[in-house]
Subunit: 76 residues, 4 copies
């Protein structure tokens, strides 16, 4: 479900409503802070757009992004 797009690991999540979408973002936020690696995340109502890339590696995908993607998949 994750796609590589312009050197970012990208996935779009759709939920039934805003509350469910923001609840997912809260799980992502806690997980990201724990892993000390944070996504670029955007929310529009029931949709959450995640872009994973490593700023300190020139905004490209690294092993840290792949690990974060796996951890996020556990949160759905």
């Amino acid at each position: 479900m994750w796609k590589e797009d312009n050197n970012h690991l990208v996935r779009i999540f759709e939920f039934k409503d805003f509350i469910s979408a923001f609840s997912f973002m809260t799980r992502v936020a806690i997980t990201a802070e724990k892993m000390d690696h944070h996504p670029d995340m955007r929310n529009v109502y029931n949709k959450v757009y995640l872009h994973l890339y490593s700023h300190d590696a020139g905004d490209t995908i690294t092993e840290r992004d792949r690990k974060l993607a796996e951890a996020i998949d556990e949160l759905i």
Copy 2:
């Protein structure tokens, strides 16, 4: 699943971990603020204890508590 205990509407929720428990609390928080009626909520790791009662009705159960309980049941 909700029980009446000492004039409170009470329910205990158990989740697989802390992140899931807090994510549920976030959904409850948004819902409660929207309904302008807030639960007494306690969290210990993966457990969430909710007590619903109406402060302005002498800490007893009112229709507002029953409506909040129904709304919370939709969030699980």
Copy 3:
């Protein structure tokens, strides 16, 4: 501090760290759901980018966006 950009009401918020940024997003989320009008919000580490516009008015700025902007200003 809010600017009009391409028919969106836009403001960027910068915080000391991710936890502070996400905590602000939580306040925005609760407020938005209460007002039944939601922002387009993006988070990159300690920054939060908010775009306010009304989807049902052709993605342009309406009175609802101005009211949401005022409510968000109270949350900082």
Copy 4:
């Protein structure tokens, strides 16, 4: 401000409203999960009651609780 009460490290926080209280709980939640040590936290409208103790040390106060208390003090 923290007090020892019945082998718990206890502190009560009061905020201007529910949104501010829950926003603080979100910061505490992220911090706690990061430190892998979680508080017993209760929320009633604008108040947050934190009890820190170590379950695996017989529900008494340990160094982990003192470290968590210090980290929480940074979040206010």
